[in-house]
């Protein structure tokens, strides 16, 4: 266990060394939040509420969805692809730890760093620019924290899955890019799931993506009742458990057919 905690620490310190990169990151996310803020304001126009969300709910939703993305988002899939292509994965497999577990810990270190140096200050800055509404209810915050941790795990599991496909596809840059676009749309980052037509909602209900962005953002904006929130969080937890299965299966197959050239 110690070695995994150490990995989190090392990744955190590594990120700290390059922290200037993140100041512009906050600016970029603010620009994106701004674009969607104006867009949604125009969409609402004279309307008070759409699907039970007021315009101020929506701007809070957009802001928290992007800033939470800074926490759960990482490029572990791309890192894995690079390590597999370069053959470094052979060395990783000899080392006395679980490769996938280690990748998860690295992602977590990155996430914790960005939580403190990106998401939190970013959220403060954005709340000065746009009219946002924060909940004063402790229960909401607790549920939100729980939900955002689970959304991190769902996202990194999908990243691990994408990363493992490199063993079979060799070049999966296109797949990685496509995955990112699909997640942005179907996780509810761009549009809350409740805005989709009913048939699309029925389909999305059976997919893990909404656990990434939609659930925590809805909890944060108080758009879920406590009951709904608990149910959604349980569903997130179930997805985390389910996703372990395909990852393990693919991982075992990948290790069996792995060929390292040279080295």
């Amino acid at each position: 266990m110690d070695k995994y905690l150490e990995m989190i620490r090392i990744r955190f310190l590594m990120m700290l060394a390059y922290r200037t990169n993140y100041y512009t990151g906050i600016l970029i996310y603010s620009i994106n939040i701004g674009a969607y803020y104006f867009l949604w304001s125009a969409i609402y126009g004279e309307k008070d509420a759409i699907e039970g969300m007021s315009v101020i709910h929506m701007s809070t939703y957009v802001a928290i969805a992007w800033m939470a993305r800074a926490f759960y988002f990482n490029n572990i899939d791309r890192e894995m692809a690079a390590e597999i292509k370069e053959g470094k994965v052979a060395v990783e497999l000899i080392r006395p730890y679980n490769y996938l577990g280690m990748k998860t810990m690295q992602g977590l270190g990155e996430g914790i760093f960005r939580l403190f140096f990106f998401s939190v200050p970013g959220m403060v800055i954005v709340s000065f620019i746009f009219p946002l509404q924060f909940s004063a209810d402790a229960a909401t915050w607790l549920l939100f924290v729980l939900s955002i941790v689970l959304s991190f795990f769902i996202n990194i599991q999908i990243n691990l899955l994408t990363g493992i496909t490199t063993f079979f596809l060799f070049n999966n840059t296109g797949l990685i890019r496509a995955k990112r676009v699909v997640i942005d749309l179907f996780s509810g980052l761009l549009i809350p799931i409740s805005f989709f037509p009913t048939w699309a909602q029925d389909v999305l209900k059976f997919l893990p993506f909404q656990g990434i962005s939609y659930v925590p953002s809805m909890i944060f904006t108080n758009s879920f009742s406590n009951n709904e929130a608990v149910q959604a969080i349980i569903l997130q937890g179930i997805w985390v458990l389910i996703l372990i299965i395909p990852i393990q299966i693919l991982w075992i197959i990948a290790k069996k057919q792995l060929i390292i050239q040279g080295g």
């Binding site: 990169n21 512009t24 990151g25 600016l27 970029i28 620009i31 994106n32 701004g34 674009a35 104006f38 867009l39 304001s41 125009a42 969409i43 609402y44 126009g45 309307k47 759409i50 699907e51 070049n171 999966n172 840059t173 296109g174 797949l175 890019r177 496509a178 676009v181 699909v182 942005d184 749309l185 761009l190 549009i191 805005f195 989709f196 037509p197």
Partner: protein
């Protein structure tokens, strides 16, 4: 003449290299298409809840987005200079560029082109035709010519802005993150500028004129009389911005001292 010949020779070489990895090319097409579809889906979903967006109908917004895709596809095929600093300044690749017998910027455009992005223009035209048909737009004899003019204008606006930003590297060595920021600001031009507040509108029109890549030229084909002047400014802005960027580029190249060794 020489430039045109060189251009087609580079295109031929490019095709040969890309055709070596067809599967990869195919996946790239699909992920491009997906990327364009996401924005379209956003518009469709949103208009399930409202009839007008700042006074514009669904099909008008879709038309603007379709138009935007065309100059943007041209831009991303020929102006792949987002890593100019690392690739050309830090690694000193520019030394090699400067020994070539054609203009340095043109040489770089040739080396870095990504013709598969042109596919986005087809998607854009298809989207425009679909939206135009449901709007009942009539095409006059001048429209195809103006379309071409506006598309080139839009591409030059985009190209001009990005070349100018790349030029920063001639004066400041440090890596800047302005490039990715610009890509995000560029997204503002996809929607009618009247939904933004006046400061942002001013910036999108005169400082970083991304509005000339989407909404202004598209407004002409949608018959929006109030934007007529802006529509016809598109090629002018394109020439002005691209012209300035070339001047800055040339004086930057004069300053360039190489990366050592």
């Amino acid at each position: 003449m020489f430039y045109i010949k060189i251009f087609f020779q580079y295109v031929a070489q490019y095709m040969k290299t890309r055709m070596q990895y067809r599967a990869d090319l195919f996946v790239e097409f699909i992920s491009d298409l997906l990327f364009q579809a996401v924005n379209l889906i956003f518009i469709l979903v949103v208009f399930g809840h409202t009839n007008l967006l700042g006074g514009w109908t669904r099909d008008e917004i879709i038309f603007i987005y379709g138009f935007f895709l065309v100059p943007y596809a041209l831009f991303s095929s020929f102006f792949n200079i987002w890593d100019f600093n690392e690739r050309y300044i830090v690694k000193g690749e520019l030394d090699r560029i400067l020994t070539r017998p054609i203009h340095s910027l043109f040489q770089m455009v040739l080396e870095r082109m990504e013709l598969e992005s042109l596919f986005g223009a087809l998607t854009g035209i298809a989207v425009m035709v679909y939206a135009g048909m449901s709007l009942g737009l009539v095409i006059s004899w001048a429209d195809p010519l103006l379309f071409l003019l506006f598309v080139i204008g839009g591409m030059l606006v985009y190209g001009g802005i990005f070349v100018m930003i790349a030029c920063i590297s001639f004066w400041a060595d440090a890596r800047t993150s302005i490039m990715p920021m610009m890509y995000n600001i560029g997204n503002y031009g996809r929607y009618p500028v009247d939904i933004y507040n006046s400061v942002i509108r001013f910036i999108l029109t005169w400082v970083l004129p991304f509005a000339f890549v989407g909404v202004y030229p598209a407004a002409y084909f949608l018959g929006k009389e109030e934007w007529l002047l802006y529509s016809f400014l598109t090629p002018v802005m394109g020439i002005i911005f691209f012209g300035i960027s070339i001047l800055i580029w040339n004086s930057g190249v004069k300053r360039y001292r190489g990366a050592g060794n």
